[in-house]
Symmetry: C2
Subunit: 457 residues, 2 copies
């Protein structure tokens, strides 16, 4: 029996006992957004700290933040040349309301069919505990061939306000060769997944100034350009009728999708019906010539995130607004330069703006797309996943960004392995959140194989 098989056998023999710590963590109602649960946040951080201490971690430390603590832990391999794997996770969970839609207590885990139901069962206490239980199984049966560091935060569900500063202030503490972030999930239960692409972003604002103050629309309507109408006309010209972005040069650097990528994307079995149900939109809409999944992760897009002008209260006020403004963001794909895209957008908008108003276009933020198919350890992880599931790994480009991955790449110089064992229908921010238990068990076995892939097996 290989070392991996020994460790997996140990886990199988002790599965019920080892699962207990997962259930215990889920029982702590660590809702980060609710001040009433501040003590539960500390309790959850301490639970994880003592769990890792019991595993023989060399250093376990809880750092205070302005909100909820960050837990750091480190376990050194016996091999002085061992690589270091940093595992990121969060121990906070979403609120549970509406509570009356839950079929069981959100903080008393309950098995029904193949699922374990509880808040946090999937997002992401289940993922964190899978990584710990896999490590425990390795430590109980053999020597650890890599150094392990844990970085567990309690603010992910509220936007991680403390994390970026913490990472920037602790780059030595967090230095590593590989990063595992198991918060990304699988595209389906028979599809172990590695997320390898995240879109970048350019976020800017357009402001249209007309009259020096709001004007009486009766006295002046018909004689001055209305900033709200001018801005609408500008926004209306940002897309072509086929749904593509009309800004000149927007697609110039976009690498065309090759056949292999299109096949990889098509292998993801999410269908349009799921998109409709999740969004609640009456119909899907997007760039012609691409599938919804291609549009989601592999094509750049432009959205208006908000706009405002004039009177928006109850009732009626008859003004020509003095100004109108819109917040606009572009999701970018590899090779697009976010600052160049802003300059192209600004140039285009100024070129179509009439001289009856004053236009300002200014940048809020710009970040490039993220391609991590070359993240360190990717091949080891892919091999481990496909070995356990006995199927090829699905490579997925996500439409959004995972800020912690971007921050870690910048501060620590390491790209993240984005994976996980949650499923799209886990209801992670909704009532009756659940974890597909067979996927969780497989996930632990895959992580055992992954950890041990760096030693002689």
């Amino acid at each position: 029996m290989s070392k991996s098989e020994q460790a997996i056998q140990y886990f199988r023999d002790n599965q019920k006992l080892m699962t207990g710590s997962y259930l215990d963590l889920v029982r702590i109602p660590s809702i980060s957004t609710d001040p009433d649960h501040k003590a539960d946040m500390v309790k959850a951080a301490q639970f994880l700290a003592s769990t890792l201490a019991d595993l023989g971690f060399d250093r376990v430390e809880i750092f205070e933040t302005k909100m909820h603590p960050i837990m750091f832990a480190e376990k050194k391999s016996g091999n002085p040349n061992a690589k270091t794997l940093l595992i990121y996770g969060h121990y906070d969970v979403q609120p549970v309301d509406p509570l009356d839609e839950w079929k069981s207590d959100p903080f008393e885990p309950e098995f029904r069919g193949e699922y374990l139901y509880a808040r946090g069962a999937s997002d992401m206490k289940g993922q964190v505990m899978a990584s710990i239980i896999a490590l425990d199984s390795v430590l109980k049966t053999t020597n650890l061939p890599i150094n392990i560091k844990y970085l567990l935060e309690g603010e992910e569900e509220i936007g991680s306000p403390s994390l970026e500063g913490f990472i920037a202030d602790h780059t030595d503490l967090l230095s590593c060769d590989m990063i595992l972030n198991p918060d990304a999930g699988m595209v389906g239960k028979d599809q172990p997944t590695l997320v390898y692409g995240l879109r970048g972003m350019t976020y800017f604002e357009v402001r249209v100034d007309g009259p020096k103050a709001d004007l009486h629309s009766g006295l002046w309507g018909g004689n001055v350009a209305n900033p709200a109408i001018v801005l609408s006309e500008i926004i209306a010209k940002l897309h072509n009728p086929d749904g593509s972005v009309a800004i000149h040069g927007f697609y110039d650097r976009v690498a065309p999708l090759n056949d292999e990528e299109r096949e990889q994307i098509a292998a993801n079995q999410t269908n349009e019906q799921v998109f409709l149900e999740v969004t609640g939109s009456p119909a899907l809409y997007g760039e012609a010539g691409y599938t919804p999944l291609e549009r989601q992760g592999a094509r750049p897009t432009l959205d208006v995130n908000g706009f405002y002008s004039g009177f928006i209260g109850e009732g009626a006020k008859t003004i020509i607004p003095a100004y109108a403004k819109a917040k606009i963001s572009c999701r970018l794909v590899p090779n697009q330069d976010p600052v160049e895209i802003f300059e192209l957008a600004k140039k285009y908008i100024l070129s179509i703006a009439p001289d009856t108003v004053r236009i300002k276009v200014f940048l809020h933020s710009a970040g490039p797309a993220y391609l991590a198919n070359d993240a360190p350890g990717a091949q080891n992880l892919v091999d481990a996943l496909s070995e356990v599931w006995q199927t090829p790994v699905t490579f997925k480009r996500e439409g959004g960004s995972i800020p912690v991955a971007t921050v870690m790449q910048r501060e620590l110089g390491v790209k993240s392995l984005l994976t996980g064992f949650g499923l799209p229908d886990d209801a992670i921010h909704s009532p009756n959140e659940r974890m597909h238990f067979p996927s969780w068990l497989k996930g632990i076995e895959a992580l055992i194989r992954f950890y041990l892939s760096f030693g002689e097996d």
Copy 2:
């Protein structure tokens, strides 16, 4: 000497003394929007009540409202068959800030050159006192050939919240044959003016619903229609490239301007430079084929009064908004039916809306245009004005509506005579408000002639 000439002579002989009451009224800082001046509001109402009582009015009454009092007064003619003239006015004024831009105390009237400077000197204490001093001159020299009623409110500068209800509740008290509203002003100092047209209005709201909640623009951008973009595209299609309104049928009932009207409008000497200075817009803009003055009063228009969608705070939030909404108003000219215009707008908007969103179009308010060239007493007033100024009267269509005129027409069945002696550069809502004193003196003489035109002269 005719009775008018006798009364005018009396006024000229006593001008200095009679002007004193105007200055006394202006000294009361009756700022309706400022709670600190609540006592001054009462003081101004009482000043007017006692002034009219001193003139021998039969009934003088101050009515409490939720905000500031309404003063009603009535003086009967000796002639039992006399017609009744209701004079509308307001005794409240705008705030005075920024105070440091005033060259003299806003509540201590000061003559400089041809002007009297003070807050309310023009808007509209000067107009109210002109009507009272003219009446005083008549009463001192002859018999009053008409019954006079006064309705003076203290809430005009804050939108007259109490007035409509008061009028509806007191239609017998306010019953009359003619209404004089001297709050409308002159188009220039040598151009006595009768405003004979006010535009109507249709005010509606468009709401575009897309996803069931704000979506993450990274995950979903490119796959669902963005309500803010869809609404912008709808608004962009409400006008044609020539500046005309694109709603099908919008102009069907609009009576073309005839040559006489165009000449009357062109006689108004306001030029484009004044429009630019007042609005502060970098350029004028409007329907092709019409002058700015024609567009202002005689052509229907469509404006967006405000719009909102998604995130409009500081910084950046990356969402696809669940909905977007816009408030839209159309200014209408005679013969356009405001409810029909709403139906046409709704039909047009629904016809251009995509099926990727849900659209609602709903009416806020609808009121027809107002044409008052046939208001009772119009010929008498025109004759009096042209006699004093020795020039033909300018007939003007205003772009806005004067709500009190619409309410009085509906509740009392009488159209208003809209005139006044203020000038466009009186700075009525700004620092250094002023009254052109020679115009004010002429106005008193014109009102003397007007009052006496209903008796044998």
